[in-house]
Amino acid sequence: MALSGMRGLSVFISDIRNCQNKEQERLRVDKELGNVRTRFKNEKGLTPYEKKKYVWKMLYIYMLGYDVDFGHMEAVSLISAPKYPEKQVGYIVTSCLLNENHDFLRLAINTVRTDIIGRNETFQCLALTMVGNIGGREFAESLAPDVQKLLISSSCRPLVRKKAALCLLRLYRKNPDVVNVDGWADRMAQLLDERDLGVLTSSMSLLVALVSNDHDSYWSCLPKCVKILKHLARNQDIPQEYTYYGIPSPWLQVKTMRALQYFPTIEDPTTRRSLFEVLQRILMGTDVVKNVNKNNASHAVLFEALALVMHLDAEKEMMSQCVALLGKFIAVREPNIRYLGLENMTRMLMVTDVQDIIKRHQAQIITSLKDPDISIRRRALDLLYGMCDVSNAKDIVEELLQYLSTAEFAMREELSLKAAILAEKFAPDLSWYVDVILQLIDKAGDFVSDDIWFRVVQFVTNNEDLQSYAAIKAREYLDKPAIHETMVKVSAYLLGEFGHLLARRPGYSAKELFKIIHEKLPAVSTSTIPILLSTYAKILMHTQPPDQELQNQIWGIFNKYESCIDVEIQQRAVEYLALSKKGAALVDILAEMPKFPERQSALIKKAEDTEADTAEQSAIKLRAQQQSSNALVLTDQRPVNGTPSSNQLTLVKVPTTSSYPDSTDQELSQTNGTLNKVDSSFPAPDLLGDLLGPLAIEGPPSFTAPASQNMTAEVDGFPNAVEAGAIVPVGKQANSVQPIGNISERFLALCMKDSGVLYEDPYIQIGIKAEWRAHLGRLVLFLGNKNTSPLVSVKATILPPSNLKMELSLVPETIPPRAQVQCPLEIINLHPSRDVAVLDFSYKFGNDLVNVKLRLPAVFNKFLQPISISAEEFFPQWRSLSGPPLKLQEVVRGVKPLLLLEMANLFNSLRLMVCPGLDPNPNNLVASTTFYSESTQAMLCLVRIETDPADRTQLRMTVASGDPTVTFELKEFIKEQLISIPAPQPPTPPSAAPPVGHPMVTTPPAFTDPGAMLAGLL
């Protein structure tokens, strides 16, 4: 089919096609561009036909990938041509050449508006299409009302209205305010009654965008969506032309189900039921057929239905149907379905608790990791990452390692990062973790970021049990003929630090270690040499008695690098040489590294950062969040004073013999002083981060800084105990560990709710979850070790008051690294009392013995059961409980001022149910509750509070129940709460206090009204 009537264009295209090479093509294009340019310059002579032709040529050239930096104006000017053919070309070429930010578009805005509000339907279509495709904010502001009008107009034909719907969608994306018009939600709902499926499809896309931002305004659309879906699923009144391979508009079905996913729930039972019928039909009735397109279309609908079921968190039965389907999908031959099966399984992980069922498919998923298709492998990797936990970490990580050797470069970095994170998170034992990381470096060194090996060094340094093991492993890798430079770094570091632990073994003598490490030196880059120098210095230090030959050799190396051009290398060489000639002092300064302060894994952090642009971010992130709410993810330790960098620099190990903080300080200053003579002005090494900072042991640019830093650390004492711990040998004072957060605030908060954190410090977090039924309670303590090393000597004892019988299950003596243990505590309330149970908790971390005594939130109000009470029940009770000791009244002063509403909320959270309407005086509160204990059984309690609006710091309280102790204790309890709760604002100045003994307001009795009756009774 020839290009109707545009011979010039056809000829040009043919010419281009006949070009033998890129160069010829460029020449031809340049010639044409020159031609077009001159033609445009003397525009007068151009007929509309010619203009059209040249504009098309420009678009063609542009499509070929050449810069077309002129002629935009001509394209835009065609939009205002009076005739359809020119206008059409103008609109279409403009929308292809320009993007929404182009200045020329602004020039066209008026013409576009004229076309939109004009009578010519074909012009309307052209204008709406262009605005829908490239309209920006300015278009949104000036055209939205007109477009809206077209969409709902009854006189417009469907061809205009469907374009208007999508055009409005575009404008809404550019500026959401344009649709925030009163009554638009109703209009939108009306649009869903549309019979033309083209208009309905477009409107549904619009609805999806609207509800994704604000579902609340569009509840009225929900039942209509379900109705549409029902019609489609049953194939009712669907014109033949809207069925696609026998499926009633799959697109409309998908969009409708997408819209429904933005509503949090479906409350109306009828709507819900009919939706589930449809979903059930889709889930069960979708078969695999031969025709690819039919298959794709029906599965597009099926996957959307799956997503909707997941979202609605349907009855468990349907959810397990979904998992079963997905399990089937990931094993089919058709790659698209396999891909989508894996993708949706990962999504499913994040919405429901189906991990165990998904684990059954682990073998199949691992097979997908070897799929020829990288897209599928990516999905499998993500899914494996998401489903990994302690139980399957070993298998999964080993699979990932195996895959690493064959994976393409595009995936290796992600793969190694994920393997490293999983190994860290779920390591069943730490030596396995070390194995994994070393293998990782061995297999994919280029893709292992520094963070990964820094982390393994931190682990090994912090876990003494691991040190010789890691050193042996490092030595084994060094024996291999060709190893990655990262492996050289980590091995050299580990052997320098811990090689001496193995000195007795054959092959591990200082000399041998030095030899094998030094062999690597010629091949490494400048970033590795400093590490090797440090290792040499350490080896030298550990060789006791000194080996003359080794010493000379190493000194020779230091000498050689003393004049190295690389500052870092030079500095270390100079320093180590000077230090190693100091003899005994060397031992102190180069002693083993102290434990690293706990910090968030840089890897996990990195993963969180990169997840933003990798797939399935939400699944992993969500799970990460869940874990942090499970109280186990490490928090970042922020130094309280001083900058982090100085923190790193002061991590110099000081002699463990010095037991007084003062002398430590002196020694440290001396150490720094000595160093300072050697060298003072080199910049701090940030090259290798804080891992190696300490090794380099140089002082910061100004040497006084660290000393004063330490001073402040000492003076300030505990607030930065963690940093200080790195400076002063730890374990000198008991409880050098400071809690994070305020313990008593945490306790008070837990009195009001049933789960939360009871205590937290840098090493441990104690969480609580409680359930109360009548006089019984079950409270679970979650002891979470936040560290990479175990907490030992863990002890927990309960000191119960006389009114509570408490039984704590066995608390393990050791909490493994980064693990959480649960200790249930059974509680029986024997008789009413406000006494509080105490948890005496202690543990050891390194040399730190930490002991805390924590109040347990098994308090009086936990045994209350709020009960709503009617006037008919209330008054006889209130009347029958007359006077002390069953009914007590007290004027309470010094109350934290609260608005009545705030007080009502407080009462409700204390499980005293406020019964509005029982007291006619709006300043009074009446509440009722039931107290449970073994001795009293269920005991109804009634409370009345009379407040004085003029002075909120005082009130009169009356408490009544059938048991004198309950009455008294409840009264006292409420009083405590009213006085102790933290005030939202500072208390009102005393000047506002009214005269003492201000009489309470009483209303005259009027016995027709129950509230008034109450007032009369009081």
Partner: protein
């Protein structure tokens, strides 16, 4: 939403591009380069989805041409795959068993048809019949205008004879 549509030949020549999200000229060339590199190198019998820069390219090969639409991570991939096929069927109906040459010499027609199918990166019309009818109407409008123009020029020519 669909961020852009690309038609690329097996040799990597661009046959049609349509951008629904704002990309600058530079970005456009980069996108085309990267994606065509990824897609053209994929073997047969693999799935029709490629993950790319936080988005997803859904593509399908028809003879010598690759049709590609790029969508958001959580969009429905199969739905878009069938959008592509829907587009191809309409082209096929219009040109009568369409081939790459048709699209080279009539690239403007392909743009017209695409505009009847997608707006704002969303499907506008799922009935092939309706799209065909609208395109035919457009063609006849252009035809009429041409006839009018030629008859006018005839009149002028005769008047000035």
């Amino acid at each position: 939403m669909i961020h852009f549509v690309l038609l690329i030949s097996r040799q990597g020549k661009v046959r049609l591009t349509k951008w629904y999200s704002p990309y600058t000229q530079k970005e456009r060339s980069k996108v085309i380069r990267e994606l065509s590199g990824m897609i053209l190198n994929r073997g047969p019998k693999l799935c029709n989805f490629v993950e790319w820069r936080g988005l997803k390219a859904v593509y399908k090969r028809y003879a010598s041409l690759y049709f590609c639409m790029c969508i958001d991570q959580d969009d429905n991939e199969l739905e878009v795959l069938e959008c592509i096929h829907h587009f191809v069927e309409i082209l096929d109906r219009y040109f009568g068993s369409v081939c790459e040459l048709d699209l080279i010499f009539n690239f403007h027609k392909a743009y017209y048809i695409l505009d009847e199918l997608l707006i704002a990166g969303e499907l506008q019309e799922s009935s092939k019949k309706t799209v065909a009818r609208l395109i035919a109407a457009q063609d006849s409008l252009v035809e009429t205008a041409k006839e009018q123009a030629s008859s006018i020029s005839n009149i002028i020519a005769q008047a000035t004879k």
